[in-house]
Amino acid sequence: MLSKVFQFLSSLRLTVVLLGLGVAVVFFGTLGQTSDGLYVAQERYFRSWFAYWTPHGSAFPVVPLPGGYLLGTLLVVNLIVAHFTRFQWTWAKSGIFLTHIGIILLLLGQLATDMLARESILSFREGETRNYSESSMDFELAFLHGAGSNDLDQVVAIPASRLTVGAEVSHGLLPFTVRVKEAYENARVRQRAPVMDSNRPPAAPNGIGARIVIDPLPPSRAMDSRNVPAAVVELLGASSLGTWAISGELKSQTVTAEGREWRVEYRPVREYKPFALTLIKTTHETYPGTDIPKNFQSRVRLRHADTGEDREVDIYMNSPLRHGGHTFFQYQMGKEQLADGGRGTSALQVVRNPSWVTPYVGCVLMSVGLLVQFLIHLTKFIARRKPAGTLRPA
């Protein structure tokens, strides 16, 4: 029985079927991207064990598919089991072994990247210093107050996923409970127009909420836009501390609880670094006569207090900055059109991927393996050809 299982798991047929299914998943995943957008399609088809493809407009799942995780896992198992059962460990096949180890590393490395890598955005203007990057997808409701020292804030951050209508969130460090009255995945806020909005109440009675209205928007799946969530929350201390409108489009508001002022911000999830980057200068070159970018370049100053590091670096296309386990890629660039006479702005994509080195190792192993196997065959061929080599041209 067990041998049958191993036979199945090691069979070449399984490899072919898995590769075929892989092609199908890529095909349907690409189709799915048109309606779901890149991020959702990735989650649904590739970062999953099982997936199904639904034609646009259909209410029922139609094509069931194995997800990317399942295919990858089975391929790895297939390859490893095959080595224990079908393949023979001989020097003559050492190149193939090396190549296969390279493939396994690629597959595992991709899985590790998928599960461990974190991407975020660091955006700043010329002259500004940042020691954190922000998520491009996820928001958090942050409550902040001074933490003893003058230049530190104590932050209690509630992830947006907890802010569902009717939810109550409390935390030992917060002197109040947050009760969610309205929640929107994507919305925009705007000034309440006295005449046009006369039949709409303000978003909330306290703070800026009294002067705005919240317009819910359908969640966006497009690559070039993002959802900006909004909510209306009531803060409940010993008594109610008022009802507040919060949105990713608003800056901080202040609420006083138990004699202490808290700042309230609904903002992208932040990831703080032990070092800081200052944007010194942006260079934005386009091809002459067009708006097509030729070169985006950011000159930044990197300061790391712990190591005493202090240096200037140029970040541009294909030349990222690697520091402290993070990679900073040049992402977007622009100029502020209104404020400060047009200071340059830059956005860096920050990737923290502990397994970034595995694909390189995998590729080197595969290349070496193929080369070794080729050389083994070549030497064998030459050796066989020698006897014939005694022939001389007439």
């Binding site: 461990l116 203007r125 951050a157 006369s198 622009g334």
Partner: protein, 375 residues
Amino acid sequence: MIPMAVLATAWATSGCGKDEVRVYQAPREVPVTAVADRGGSEAAPASASGPGGSPGAATEPSERAPVPWTVPAGWEEKPASGMRVASYAVKRPDGRSADISVVAMGGGAGGELENVNRWRDQIGLEPVTEAGLPGLRSLVAAGDREMVMYELDGKKAVLDGKSAARTLAAILPAGEMTVFFKMTGENALVAEQKPQFLAWLKSVDTGGGRESSPETPASAAPTPAGPASSAPALSAGGGADGLPAWQVPAGWTSAGAKPMRLASFDIPDAAGNGDVSISKLNGDGGGLLANVNRWRGQVGLAPLEAAALAGNSRTVPTAGGDRATWVELVGTDKTILGAIVPRDGVSWFFKLTAPPAVAGRHQESFERFVRSLRF
């Protein structure tokens, strides 16, 4: 089986802690931060693509000076200037561009025909007559209101003498104001941007605009009693919208505010409906004679000389003590009965348009309506 175990562990641990409340200490920030940006444009970090956005510059919590509409992707905001409430641009790398503007003006802003002809002139099109307007019009819903939209396809190469232009323009009456939404630019680009323009119009939040729009007579008309109703149906005259009070004759139904109009009534009649419009213009609205002649043109009559005006009009006193200049312009297929009341630097126009026989039947009630005016 080791890789399986690795995978399972990695799988199990991923995603943990995502919903946890995080507590940390962070260096206090210098107060300036770019607010959230929606666009993926090059200028995204500064959120300069947002409407009115001046990230980090203002001290108010709300930085965006929000506007009551959604700016389509790819529209670049420009500073509003002059008469413009808002201004946007669409640019293409090949140099083609389109200009988008929002202009709000008091009253009817010169009339629909004049504006359409001005826009036509800008892109090298011949002017049209009032009769030609309905064929060019389309209606667009904006919130609970309807806007009249014109799409003008210029054929002449008016842009640097190289390419033709196209204009999309929509008119929204908003109480005493008229708001114009207009996109003009390179012909193909504007055609390509039409869906965005329409989506933009649809996104305009007209909210409680009805409240200030002068169609309140709707609730009062038709009056239940017969002619010269003993229960006079008073409009919102003297209210916030500044319309005069009036008595609506029996059988009239309110048709609400339309482009260039503060109020409208329909007079149902088997022989063809009559249309009553109320509008106003600043000053003398171009002059009494010019307006009477414009109306004469609409029914196919030749213009009058200034000296002939007095002989072709009479004065009708109103309940409020004003004096209306009354004209009866009988054409071959339609008749206009009009009354013009100059008052406080504003000219009010009351106009009934109907087939001649219908106008004759309702002349008396229209005159009673004009006489009932109380500003």
